[in-house]
Amino acid sequence: MNIETNPQAQDAGGAKVRTGIADCDIHPSPRDFEKEVYPFLETRWQRYIESYGMVQRVGFMGGTQYPKGQPRASRRDSFPPGGGGPGSDLAFMRQQHLDPHNVELGVMIPLRVGQQILNIDLAIAICSAMNDWQIAEWTSQEPRLKGSILTAYQDAGAAVREIERHAGKDDFVQVSMLSRTPEPMGNRMYWPIYEAAAAAGLPVGVHAFGYGGTPVTGGGWPSYYMEDMMAHSQSCQALITSMVFEGVFERIPGFRLVIVEAGIAWLPALAWRLDAIWRKNRGELTAVKRPPSDYIRECIWLTSQPIEEPDTRQHLVDAIDWIGWDRVLYASDYPHWDFDDPQQVLPVKLTRAQRDNFFRDNAFSAYGLSDG
């Protein structure tokens, strides 16, 4: 196989590039919420949103207390020339990202609306509408793009029904959750969701962010956006710890987890630490039959972005050696500001197998897709 990220550069002779890349984190957003999403919402919810908004566990109507580094947290050049917000124009997304980077599989994760709305009935309705919207506006228009099933995971029963509603559709490749859950992610309140995902043959993709309501650090709320962004890796360490120690991977055969947009280099040290703690606390961790690193190695994938950039780039290769070259999925985070360009993301010498794994094959394994 020959992975090419830039067909123009390699394809001067008109020969067909056989395969492209998989981008495991793309963020679409509605250009016009009323026009695109209202058709999937009951009138009462439309009126509710207009009166009260979509309130989460955060003090601002518009979301985060940490103003972002760029408007809409997006690349300045990602605002479509025809209007609308970044990620809201399929034609422009094709032109700016999918075509030039030869994206063969693009996994979409809608972020701005949906999960963790406090009014649980509204959360259920919105998640459902956003899933229908993904099909109507995106996956039915562009076969390279696949969606993520948004779930109101505070209510596991509702989440399960939503998963079952879409199971088997090739529009979706994963179930979506956000990393900052109200309770640690291994808690049993969430198990039915994991069971339903496994039964549907889908991984759960946990994207960084969310408003769980608790401070993002064990020592309270930090001051700066930079700290909030840094803390995504710590939140993901906490959720993996919770899932491993609660025995989620042991209890639910076939359960697969994809961690999205938290970087990667923190995983090896976490696995080493959990192994050491597990060895000494077997009496407490009765559901954990094998060393935590075993479950992590077998059941967890990570998307690459934002990729760490050590001065000595070989150090990153060491880190991926420890994680496993079959575990890391390329992701751009398009159209967001901390976008990783596929041609710049790993400026090291890679073997062909490493390259194929990183840019394509791992994604097909993680999402259980047949190799197209």
């Binding site: 650090t217 976490l270 760490e308």
Partner: protein
Amino acid sequence: MEALSEAEAPAAAILVGTVDCDVHPEPPTTAELLPHLDPFLRESITQRGIGPLTSVSYPPNAPMTVREDWRGEPGAGPALARMQRDLFDGLGVGTAILNPLYGLQVLMSEDMAARYATGLNTFTARDWLDRDPRLRSSIVVPMQNPEMAVEEIDRWAGDPRFVQVMMLVMGEMPAGKRYYWPIYKAAERHGLPVTLHAGSMYRHGPTGLGWPSFHAQDYAANATAFQTALTSLICEGVFSVCPDLKVVLAESGFTWLPGYLWRLDKYWHGLRMEVPWVDRRPAEIIASNVRFTLQPVDAPPTAADLQRLMEHVGCEDLLLFSTDYPHWQFDGNHAVPDGISATQARRMMIDTPRATYARLSEVMS
């Protein structure tokens, strides 16, 4: 067989003169503490039936809290004698820096916490430091109130056996916030490092996702708490306000540091304008102002992996040797993990502690 150079030779042995930078004296019983307490607190304890302040961070009978062969059997003698036997005679440590873990930081009353802190430090001086010249200690401060914490630092700073100030890594708010700066300024003024030790005031769940189910998760969460605390210290500009301050992260783990720094460095390049007072690379700030105790190592599976990781760490002066006695972090006398070179071991056992704790040289010479 070829002779190994000092740098390549394995480093299992603890050298003569080794400083152990994280050692825990057995917490006092209420009866042991009472004589050292302020009369009002003493009466409150008896009148209100206040028991020992045992934090959930270290359940006394949990496996990691005391290593099995270091547990006192009934009749095993006083805690100091056991420490002398296990740590000084058994492992060969030369000097031990005590980090007293007593749950006073969990109290909600600032005044009560301050009275406990004074009593605990007095107990440490009388019942430990006075009885073995190889012991040094941290000054435990009431984190509930930085002004009172400064008073406590000023109270003990004249005693050269107190070599640093101790806080817990998880407080009301992240460690770098301006609220805590009076503590850092006082420590810097006295030439005392501040150690952030594993543990929490439990004002918040110990993870960014709230309260976990198991002690093992709580313990695991300390490493992430150290990471976020370090981010806070750097982003808030603590080291541009207190350039001479040394912060020691104790019982933090350190194998997470390289990957953490790559991420922090990347964000700093893009978000520098949010924190323009951070005018050096985070790695440079850490190299000059932050140190890590050795245990728990959270080591990779092989010595070769640890060697690779030490290359990623890069700086040779970041680690301070520790056993974390009596916490169970290693078995037998295997305090130095395979993969640490003899040169690295010498630095962490002797050179770096002496450079970090100016007061060690004062009283040891």
